[in-house]
Amino acid sequence: IAGITQAPTSQILAAGRRMTLRCTQDMRHNAMYWYRQDLGLGLRLIHYSNTAGTTGKGEVPDGYSVSRANTDDFPLTLASAVPSQTSVYFCASRDRDSGELFFGEGSRLTVL
């Protein structure tokens, strides 16, 4: 089934450690996004990429970095995790014609 694949599904991480959340899509969408979702705060955009080779900052980019070496992959890296980065992270891609966003099932990250 075509869609967004995220890994890992969940992870417990010690503060100060580096972590990369993986996101892969097989729909050949140009635009991809990373959101974090926290109780009471909804989905907040971290970083986005409109096409391979380009990235941009969203609403809450501090402490995160992304890369977009090709169309399919859009990894999110936490260089030095802090407890406030405990959250559920969603990757999404956008169909240019319909505007519909396709989401992965999320990566639940706990930083201790």
Binding site: G40, L43, G56, E100, L101, G104, E105, G106
Partner: protein, 113 residues
């Protein structure tokens, strides 16, 4: 910046009734507005999109309206069922520039049998 407001209180309704959820926004007129459904522990799933020049859009038991004067979208589920219980998110895109999907915080719908 764009602000999107959805009722933070859960909406409790009886099975068979019509559920109506509200999405209000400020500052800009979006090119289009979308509604998503999110179940616990899952990613959001797209339901409907309505463009700024459309007043109403329907899909099966779902209906969305878009009033650019009131800066409001209403999302209706008719003949609601317990399986409709979920969190419903609205998202919008402002016209022009780089597309940045912005989401409301979502409203939880609970349909009681």
């Amino acid at each position: 910046s764009q602000k999107i407001e959805q009722n933070s209180e859960a909406l409790n309704i009886q099975e068979g009734k019509t559920a109506t959820l509200t999405c209000n926004y400020t500052n800009y007129s979006p090119a289009y507005l979308q509604w998503y459904r999110q179940d616990p522990g899952r990613g959001p799933v797209f339901l409907l999109l309505i463009r700024e020049n459309e007043k109403e859009k329907r899909k099966e038991r779902l209906k969305v309206t878009f009033d650019t004067t009131l800066k409001q979208s209403l999302f209706h589920i008719t003949a609601s069922q317990p399986a409709d219980s979920a969190t419903y998110l609205c998202a919008l895109r402002v016209p022009g520039g780089s597309y940045i999907p912005t989401f409301g915080r979502g409203t939880s719908l609970i349909v009681h049998p």
